[in-house]
Symmetry: C2
Subunit: 155 residues, 2 copies
């Protein structure tokens, strides 16, 4: 990219190596770049990627249960417990017993939680824009469409 007619750097050579061309590897590395940017932007809000994600789902009008959150984020239910514990301590979310199934808790964001989410979201979108900076609109659309299929395909 940077030095077109110079000798390729070691990193550029490795990018052409047997593993550097695997979609699985590229997916992992692109995700690492993405996580790095998002984490950096979320630090100012005292949120991690997981807690931000749970908070965002708590703000959704579909009112997901802990089980559904765990499934959607591909986390173990026990991990969701401690993520919610933290958000609840900070006054961002509340566990509301589901009247239709008293085993279930439905997660809802408080006013403070909604405000915190709205502010954090600005920076999350900024991080995403940084990540996608080199892509035109068509590539962004294609990427979203293709990733959606992979992300929600059967395991």
């Amino acid at each position: 990219m940077s030095n077109d007619n110079a000798a390729p750097t070691q990193q550029e050579q490795l990018a052409g190596s047997i593993i550097g061309t695997d979609i699985s590897f590229l997916l992992a590395r692109a995700n690492a770049v993405s996580l790095g940017k998002a984490s950096a932007h979320l630090r100012a809000h005292d949120l991690r990627i997981r807690s931000y994600s749970v908070l965002a789902l708590a703000c959704d009008e579909t009112r997901p249960s802990q089980k559904e959150i765990a499934e959607f984020l591909r986390l173990d239910p026990s991990q969701v417990v401690s993520l919610i514990d933290d958000l609840q301590r900070r006054g961002f979310v509340e566990r509301v017993p589901d009247p239709r199934d008293r085993r279930s808790n439905v997660l809802v964001a408080t006013k403070a939680g909604q405000a915190a989410h709205a502010k954090a979201r600005v920076d999350v979108l900024r991080a995403e824009d940084e990540l996608l900076a080199g892509l035109d609109a068509a590539d962004r659309d294609a990427l979203g469409r293709i990733l959606r299929r992979l992300a929600f395909s059967a395991d």
Copy 2:
């Protein structure tokens, strides 16, 4: 996907939620699916994704140093140390001092390491085929091209 004219499931509704449409989230979830498949296939070879990746780079003719491996895989150099320790104990790789810079070790795969890699690679590619099963050739190409740009963009 499965129930076209039925009411959407909670998971399908969440997929349309504020976070479910973020490229960053889709990237993370697609990667999680990918890692799950690859891990499952590598288990039979007694390799993890990281150790497989290091082994694959050790098989590459560019002869990367530990530093270069760390950078390429976005791992801390200290993590690479223990990954190599394990592979070396198993007789798959060797640390060869770089004559041009005696601080550096160059990693090379042994015959046994090359054989182990070749066998594991078959299953890794199988996992990747599972992951990409729903995509046609054009989408696979587009995905590879776009991910490569993200994966090797500046942090």
